[in-house]
C-alpha cells in the first residue's frame, strides 16, 4: 500500500518486526516503523489495536519478544525506562505515570531531580523545581495554586497537562505522546499541539498516538495505522487525503452508516420532539 | 477473693503481720515473669497476700517478653519512684547489674528472688529467696532417672528463655549423669494443639520419660500420652502445679510435679522488707531456699485445694 520513503540519513528511532504477546493475546505482530528528526509520526488505530503496547516497548517498559530497535541507525536494546530516558526518549504514558500522593513538583521531576550542593550535602533543589513547574504549567494555561498539592486531587486534564509538560521539558531527541489530548479542553489541546510543533521545529522526532483525526491531520507528517496488533502501512501526508485518513481510522464504511443513523435519530425521534413540546 | 486460710503454713514463723502499719511503706517488685505465666502468677499471689498482711503498698511489674533490657528499664522506673524496698529476680546478671547497683546506690534495700543466687552478694543485694532453676531441673532429672527413664524428652515452651533453658539443662544433665540420653523439644506455649501434636511426633522416637516445664506443656503432653495409649508407659513429670496437674498425679497419670513453693518467693521478701523499713530488723543474710519440693501421688490430694487458690 505504502511506497517506501527515500532517506538520506538514518531515522532517529526505528523498529523492525517488533512482536509482543500477553498470555494468549498478541498485542503486536511484526510491526515496523520509524521516526526521523523533525517530523511527527502519528500512530493511529482502534481501541486495543496495540498502540500503547508499541509506545511502551519504545520506552523500555516492555521488552520486545522479537524484533530489533535502532537509534540513529545503531542497534540498541532498552533494558529499562531509565535506559530509554538516558538515550533521549521522553514519554507521556496513557496512564500518566504519576504518584497520586506526591506533590506536583515532586512528580514533575520524579527520576530526574535537579540537585544542588556537593556530594555529602547534595540535595533535591526544591526551590528550582517549584519555579520550573510553575512556569511550565503556566505556559500550558494551567494555574496551579500550590505546587505542593498532591497530584491525586487534581482534575483529569490538569494531571495530563503535567505529564505533557514534563515530557516536553525533558524531551531530548524523541518525544513520545500516548493520547496526550484526550482529557484536555479545546484550549489546552491547542497548546499541546503547539508544543508538538515547537518540538518538531527544534529537530525532535515526535511519535503521537491520538484518536482525534482533526488533531492528527493538523500536526502529523506521516501516519502509521495499526489494526489488532498488525501494521496496516505507513502513509505520508501527501499520499492520503484527510477524508481517507478518517475513514481508515474509523474502519471505513461503518462510520458513514453511523453518521447517517445518528442524524436520523437526532432529527426524527417523535418522543423527543414531544418532550420539547 | 482469698480466704483467710490462704495464709501460708508459717515455714518461716518470723513474719508477723503488724497490727497497724506505722509508716506508709512502698515496695516495688520487678521480675522477669509475666503475671500471665502460671509460675509467676503464684509468686504474684504471694506478693499480694503479703501486701495485705503487712499493709504495705506493693507494685508488681514484669516485661511483656523475656526481655532483660525492658526489665532493667522497669527497675530504673521503679527506682525513680524511690520505693522503700525493691524485690527483683536476676536471670541475667550482666544485663541487670547496672540497674540493681543503681538501686543499691540510691539507698534502697534490695532482695532478689528465684534466680540470681550466685550473684546477689556481689550486687549488694541483702538477701536471696528461692533456688536456681538449674537445681530444680537437676532434682527432677534424678527422680526421673530413679524411675528408670533412659531416653528423656524436655518439652520447652520458650526456647531461649534463660530460666526455662536452665530447667531443661539441669534435667538433662541429671539424666545423662545417670547414663541415659535426652533432648529438648520446642513447642508453642500458646497453642496446646501444636504442643500435643509435637509430643505425639516425638513419642515415635522411643522416648520413655517426658519433663514439661509448666502446665502449658504438661496438659498437652498428657493429652498426647492419652491419645497414643501411653499413659503410665511413658513417665511424665512437670514443673509447677495446677489443680489439673495435681489431679493427674493423684490418679497416677503423672509421676510427679516439681514445686519451688514460689508463693514464698513472693510473700517472704515483702514481709522482710516491711519489717526492715518499720523496725530495721533483717535476717542475717544468705539464701533462703524455698524448694525444690516434689508433689507425688502420696501428697497430691493435700495440695489440690491450695493450688485452686493459687498458692501452690
Amino acid at each position: 500500500m505504502s511506497e517506501p520513503v527515500t532517506e538520506v540519513q538514518p531515522p532517529l528511532l526505528e523498529v523492525v518486526n517488533l512482536a509482543r504477546t500477553f498470555g494468549k493475546v498478541s498485542a503486536l505482530e511484526d510491526v515496523s516503523m520509524n521516526v526521523r528528526a523533525g517530523e511527527v509520526m502519528c500512530v493511529l488505530g482502534d481501541n486495543g489495536a496495540g498502540k500503547s503496547t508499541l509506545i511502551k516497548t519504545l520506552s523500555g517498559v516492555h521488552l520486545p519478544e522479537r524484533g530489533q530497535m535502532f537509534i540513529e541507525g545503531k542497534p540498541v536494546r532498552l533494558r529499562s525506562p531509565r535506559d530509554a530516558r538516558e538515550k533521549g526518549i521522553a514519554t507521556v504514558y496513557q496512564d500518566l505515570a504519576m504518584v497520586p500522593m506526591l506533590s506536583i513538583a515532586r512528580n514533575f521531576f520524579m527520576g530526574a531531580e535537579p540537585v544542588k550542593g556537593i556530594w555529602p550535602f547534595r540535595r533535591f533543589d526544591l526551590g528550582a523545581a517549584d519555579a520550573v513547574v510553575r512556569a511550565e504549567l503556566e505556559k500550558m494555561g494551567i494555574h496551579v495554586r500550590d505546587s505542593s498539592e498532591p497530584v491525586g486531587t487534581l482534575s483529569g486534564g490538569e494531571r495530563q497537562s503535567i505529564a505533557i509538560a514534563r515530557a516536553v521539558y525533558f524531551g531530548a531527541k524523541v518525544l513520545i505522546l500516548d493520547e496526550p489530548t484526550s482529557a484536555l479542553g479545546v484550549k489546552q489541546a491547542g497548546i499541546v499541539l503547539r508544543y508538538i510543533a515547537q518540538a518538531r521545529a527544534r529537530g525532535c522526532g515526535v511519535i503521537l498516538v491520538t484518536h482525534n483525526p482533526h488533531h492528527a491531520w493538523l500536526i502529523g507528517d506521516r501516519f502509521t495505522i495499526l489494526n489488532r496488533g498488525r501494521s496496516q502501512g505507513t502513509f505520508s501526508k501527501d499520499q492520503i487525503t484527510r477524508e481517507e485518513l478518517i475513514q481508515r481510522m474509523a474502519g471505513g464504511r461503518e462510520l458513514e452508516e453511523l453518521t447517517h443513523e445518528l442524524g436520523e435519530l437526532v432529527r426524527e425521534d417523535p418522543r423527543r420532539v414531544a418532550s420539547r413540546e | 477473693t482469698k480466704p483467710e486460710a490462704a495464709k501460708p503454713a508459717g515455714q518461716e514463723g518470723t513474719a508477723q503481720a503488724p497490727s497497724a502499719p506505722k509508716k506508709d511503706i512502698k515496695i516495688a517488685v520487678v521480675t522477669h515473669g509475666q503475671a500471665s505465666d502460671t509460675f509467676w502468677s503464684v509468686v504474684k499471689n504471694g506478693v499480694e497476700n503479703a501486701a495485705k498482711d503487712t499493709g504495705a503498698t506493693v507494685t508488681y511489674n514484669s516485661p511483656q517478653t523475656f526481655d532483660m533490657v525492658a526489665m532493667s528499664r522497669l527497675i530504673d522506673a521503679e527506682v525513680a519512684k524511690k520505693p522503700d524496698g525493691l524485690v527483683v529476680s536476676i536471670p541475667d546478671a550482666n544485663a541487670l547489674s547496672n540497674s540493681i547497683k543503681a538501686a543499691v546506690a540510691a539507698g534502697i534495700p534490695v532482695i532478689s528472688i528465684n534466680s540470681g543466687s550466685d550473684v546477689y552478694k556481689s550486687l549488694g543485694v541483702l538477701l536471696h529467696v528461692g533456688q536456681t532453676e538449674y537445681d530444680a531441673g537437676f532434682g527432677g532429672g534424678e527422680k526421673m532417672a530413679a524411675a528408670g527413664v533412659k531416653n528423656a524428652l524436655c518439652v520447652n515452651h520458650e526456647v531461649g528463655n534463660a530460666s526455662l533453658d536452665l530447667r531443661c539443662k539441669g534435667f538433662l544433665d541429671a539424666i545423662t549423669k545417670a547414663g541415659g540420653t535426652g533432648k529438648v523439644l520446642a513447642v508453642n506455649a500458646a497453642d496446646p494443639t501444636d504442643s500435643q501434636s509435637k509430643v505425639t511426633a516425638a513419642l515415635g522416637q522411643g522416648v520413655d520419660g517426658i519433663m514439661t516445664l509448666g502446665p502449658l506443656g504438661s496438659k498437652a503432653a498428657l493429652a498426647a500420652l492419652k491419645q497414643g495409649g501411653n499413659v503410665g508407659k511413658v513417665k511424665l513429670g512437670t514443673f509447677d502445679l495446677t489443680p489439673d496437674v495435681l489431679a493427674g498425679i493423684r490418679d497416677g497419670e503423672l509421676e510427679f510435679a516439681i514445686d519451688q513453693q514460689q508463693y514464698l518467693q513472693g510473700y517472704l521478701p515483702i514481709v522482710v522488707l516491711a519489717q526492715y523499713k518499720q523496725y530495721g530488723v533483717l535476717p542475717a543474710g544468705g539464701i533462703l531456699p524455698t524448694g525444690p519440693g516434689f508433689v507425688t501421688k502420696e501428697n497430691a490430694a493435700r495440695v489440690i485445694e491450695l493450688s485452686k487458690q493459687g498458692i501452690r
Binding site: - | D194, T200, A201, P243, D244, G310
Partner: protein
C-alpha cells in the same frame, strides 16, 4: 484447564506437594507418613485453616485483624470461667462466648470504618485490651492464669462429640475446616457479597461509587473473623478441658501468613480461601515435619524459616511457569 492454571491457590498447592514429598523422603521412616503422623499435622492445619479462611476474606477486603489471637484466649476463658465458676452448661457458655466475640468483631469493624484509622492500629489496640482484660479478669476471679475442669461441666459429652472427637484417628476439626473453607470460598466466588468483598479491597472508592456498601461488608468480615477465633477457642477449650490466658498468642500472624502463602495480597483485592487452606496445611506440615525429621530444637526455627521461603519460592515458580504455559 486454563481456569485451573490461573487460580491463585495453585502455587500453594504445589508448595504443599513439594513439602510433603520432602518430608516423606527424609522423615517418612519416623512416622510422618503414618496415619497417626498425618493426623497430627492435619489437626494443626485444621485449626489454623479455619482462622485463615476468615482472615483471608478480611484481607481481600483490605483489612487486618491482629486481635484474633487474644480473641481465642478471651473466648476460651469465658467458656471455662462460666462453666467452672458458675456451673453453667457448656452450651450456654459457648453461646455467650460467641455473642461476645461477635460484639468485639463488630466494635473493631465499626471503629475502623468510622474513624478510617488503619485496622492494623485499631486491632492492635483491641489485642492489648482483650488480652489484658482476659489476664486481669481471670486473676481477679480465680487468682490463677489457668482454668481447668471443663470435663465436669454440664453437657460436656455432647460438646466433646461435636468439637473434640476423633473419627478414625483424625480430629473432627478437620471436617469443620473443610466445611468452613468450602462455605467461605463459595461466598467469595459465587455470591454477591463475595463480589463486594473483592471490590471493597481492590478499589474501595470505585466500589463505593458503584453502590457497594463497603462499611457494612467490612464490619461483617470483622465479625466473621472474631467468630472463627471463638470457634477455635471452643475446640481447644473442649479438647484440653480448660483454658489459659496465653492461648492463641501469635495466631493472628500465623493466620495472615497462611493467607499470604495461599496467594492473598496484603494490600487487599485479590486472594483465595482455598489458597489459605493450602497455606495452613503447608504451615502445619512444615511445623510437624521438622519434629518428625528430628531436627534439634535449637535449630528448629532455622528450618522453619528455610522451609517457608522454599515453599513460597516453589509457589512463585509454579505460578510463573503457568503464565508461560498459557502463552
Amino acid at each position: 484447564m486454563r481456569r485451573i492454571l490461573n487460580r491463585p491457590e495453585l502455587g500453594a498447592a504445589c508448595g504443599v506437594v513439594a513439602v510433603w514429598a520432602f518430608f516423606a523422603l527424609y522423615a517418612g521412616g519416623s512416622g510422618f507418613l503414618s496415619q497417626a503422623g498425618s493426623a497430627t499435622y492435619l489437626e494443626i492445619a485444621s485449626e489454623l485453616g479455619i482462622l485463615a479462611a476468615a482472615v483471608s476474606l478480611l484481607m481481600i477486603a483490605g483489612e487486618f485483624d491482629l486481635s484474633v489471637g487474644s480473641m481465642i484466649a478471651a473466648s476460651g476463658m469465658t467458656i471455662s470461667l462460666l462453666c467452672e465458676r458458675l456451673g453453667w452448661s457448656i452450651w450456654a457458655a459457648i453461646a455467650v462466648a460467641l455473642v461476645l466475640s461477635l460484639g468485639v468483631g463488630f466494635a473493631n469493624g465499626l471503629v475502623v470504618v468510622r474513624t478510617k484509622l488503619p485496622s492494623f492500629i485499631v486491632t492492635l489496640g483491641s489485642l492489648f485490651i482483650l488480652s489484658g482484660s482476659t489476664i486481669g479478669m481471670t486473676r481477679l476471679v480465680t487468682g490463677r492464669t489457668q482454668v481447668g475442669g471443663l470435663h465436669e461441666a454440664l453437657h460436656y459429652g455432647s460438646a466433646q462429640t461435636l468439637f473434640a472427637s476423633r473419627i478414625g484417628g483424625f480430629s473432627v476439626s478437620i471436617l469443620w475446616w473443610v466445611a468452613i473453607t468450602v462455605l467461605a470460598s463459595w461466598v467469595l466466588l459465587r455470591t454477591r457479597s463475595g463480589n463486594w468483598i473483592f471490590g471493597a479491597g481492590g478499589a474501595p472508592d470505585a466500589a463505593r461509587n458503584l453502590g457497594v456498601p463497603v462499611p457494612k461488608v467490612k464490619i461483617a468480615l470483622f465479625m466473621t473473623t472474631s467468630f472463627c477465633a471463638c470457634l477455635i477457642a471452643t475446640f481447644q477449650a473442649v479438647k484440653f478441658t480448660g483454658s489459659d490466658v496465653l492461648r492463641g498468642t501469635g495466631k493472628e500472624l500465623e493466620a495472615i501468613l497462611a493467607a499470604v502463602l495461599g496467594g492473598t495480597l496484603l494490600t487487599g483485592g485479590h486472594g483465595s480461601v482455598v489458597g489459605a487452606a493450602f497455606g495452613a496445611l503447608l504451615f502445619g506440615m512444615v511445623q510437624q515435619g521438622i519434629v518428625f525429621a528430628g531436627v534439634d530444637s535449637d535449630w528448629y526455627k532455622v528450618f522453619l524459616g528455610a522451609m517457608l521461603i522454599t515453599a513460597v519460592l516453589v509457589n512463585t515458580y509454579v505460578r510463573g511457569r503457568m503464565v508461560e504455559a498459557r502463552r
